[in-house]
Amino acid sequence: MRFLVLGCSFRTAPVDIRERLAFPRERLSECLAEIKEITGVREAVLLSTCNRVELYTLVDHPNRAEGLLKEYLSKHSGLDSDAIATSTFCYVGDEALKHIFRVTSSLDAMVVGEAQVAGQVKEAFAAATDADTVGPMLSRCMQRAFGIAKRVRTETDIARHPASISSVAVDLAKRVFDDIAGAAILVIGAGEMAELAVRHLIGDGASRIHVANRSLERGQKLADDLGAKAVLFEQLEEHLIWADVVISSTGSREPIISRDMLFAAMKRRKQRPIFMVDIAVPRDIDADAGRLANVYLFAVDDLEKDLADNLAARRKEAVVGEEMVLEEVELFLAWLRTQNAAPVIRQLRQHFTEVVKFETDRTAKRLQTNGQSDDKAMKAMADAIVKKLLHGPMIQLKRSAGETGGGTELRQAVRLLFELDEPTAEIETEREEL
């Protein structure tokens, strides 16, 4: 049995192909059951997101399973086999493991390090567990993948760097204020970027949001959308006294907040820090205002530069993450190898138990019927057990001794298994005499 991954992602297939290959959430359970029915597929997890559709499986014969799974995808999507062949990838064995670990750790994501991916894989695994299509092997593999994802997130800085303009702005605000939820937020203008930034702030718990727009009506509409309060644009100077975070994106040709206006406001707010994001072009806030004490002003260029730095930093951290994944693949493969011995161990234990049970039952019966002495019965039982357990190995040893090579390997294996010492000189002499 081997792990096999078959699927497509934003790297291999355009969105129109991914759309057709995608599995609707409500049909996931049914589709998983169908996949499990395919000959040779032992276990399966199905990950279907906007950026990828992937099947994580444990199969008997990878080549045969790949063909059958591709046929299934073709039937499901209505795409012909050529389209499936060109837009999908297939990994087997350690490559499959590596892929599952990389995807879960968000190293293969469109925005490397985004937190969403691990959650989506968890959901896919939960769905497969509910549909009863995962067994011990894939389950162990997925659990390991989640462990690695956590390790990559905590031991590298991959997730510490925001990856969009609005999230950069929110991240910077959090460098000034410990409690975004308690911060008073003023949105000036009703631009799309400002709205995005505020939505990010809301995601972080911000609730005291006010919108000031030249057109009160439009401001009110945005305020309603955001669950905020509309305030008068004309009273901007007053608003600067209570606002902790200001996000400005008006279409004004001239700065609407001058250095002097902010200087006066800072005096009245007793120098409490204020964080300002100016997303407007031309700028809404006089650049000199950023030089005032306790004023932290960021323009769109600053945010873009930060974003570029962050993405580069994420890529750098991803290299460390890749090393971790390789390390973990090796560990998992080592664990898999130990699993090869498991069936033999189970059989051996069962055989020994059966022999002992048979002999103990027989001895108990003898004791009841014949009235044999306990000592004698115990000795007979022990002898019988030893004889039975050694019967098979002895026959094999004798047989192999007669074959070419004299059964040296088997003898060595027996010594190793039963921790027997090398034969002494005395035994060797006896052997020669025989």
């Binding site: 410990d178 007793k270 120098q271 820090p273």
Partner: protein
């Protein structure tokens, strides 16, 4: 005394190394190890001070004893601050200081008959409150240094990996203010009882430079607390005021130590 002292010193050195390693490597495991080593170090330092008492030596015999106690309070304070907010970088600043104070305290600490007699009454209050006050102000200074570092990076718009691990400016500013507010009354008590103690011991000692510096330090912290509530003195100004106040304390301690070494 020697055994606990050397173990404490070794643990503080190890904790310093681990805190610095954490700042450089950003490994959470190293940080956890640093915290545990510091906790054990603080416990060992406590045993060292307790051992002095068992030997009937006054741990607050003089400036050396006060520095030793300050080192302990400082390290213990860092452990307590660590419960409230995660400021790993603070450890890299404060633990070396605690190490330095403990070592310096040991070097100039009085032993023998003087130590058995030690400071009592006014002197004990002076030295104890000074140790506590200085520890609070030293912690506030560490936090202020981090504030300036973080604030500078934000103003220059150049946030590095270390900045990303520091708490927000607001947290640092509030913490420094709280520590100054806590340290200032203790420092005031220390100055008042110090004057009374010296007068009791030697009568009038006349003008000394350390008295003037202590007065200036007191004015700096008093001014800082009043100006913050009335004029909103905070941020960089407050951080620099705290740092300069602490440097003044260092100067006074050095003067006392030199004076003592010179007999």
């Amino acid at each position: 005394m020697h055994l606990f002292f050397w173990i404490t010193l070794a643990l503080y050195t190890l904790a310093t190394t681990l805190y610095v390693a954490n700042v450089l490597s950003r490994s959470d495991r190293v940080l956890v190890a640093a915290r545990w080593v510091l906790v054990v170090g603080v416990a060992c330092h406590f045993l060292q001070i307790g051992d002095l008492c068992l030997q009937r030596l006054n741990p607050l015999a003089d400036t050396g004893g006060m520095l030793n106690l300050t080192g302990w309070v400082l390290a213990g304070g860092l452990v307590l601050v660590g419960f409230r907010c995660r400021i790993a970088a603070l450890g890299a600043l404060v633990v070396p200081l605690a190490l330095l104070l403990t070592a310096a305290g040991r070097i100039i600490m009085t032993t023998g008959e003087v130590a058995k007699r030690g400071a009592k009454g006014l002197g004990a209050i002076h030295l104890t409150s000074m140790a506590l006050g200085v520890a609070c102000i030293a912690l506030a200074t560490g936090v202020s240094v981090l504030y300036l570092y973080q604030e500078g990076a934000l103003k220059r718009r150049r946030l590095g990996a270390i900045n990303r691990r520091l708490p927000p400016l607001n947290t640092l500013e509030h913490l420094a203010h709280r520590l100054v507010t806590l340290g200032f009354p203790l420092f005031t008590i220390a100055v008042a009882f110090g004057v009374a103690w010296l007068t009791q011991l030697y009568g009038s000692t006349g003008f000394r430079i350390e008295y003037a510096i202590s007065g200036a330090i007191w004015l700096i912290f008093a001014g800082l607390i009043v100006a913050r509530s009335t004029m909103g003195w905070r941020g960089r100004r407050a951080a620099w005021a705290t740092i300069s106040g602490f440097l003044g304390i260092v100067v006074v301690v050095v003067i006392y130590a030199v004076r003592r070494a010179g007999g």
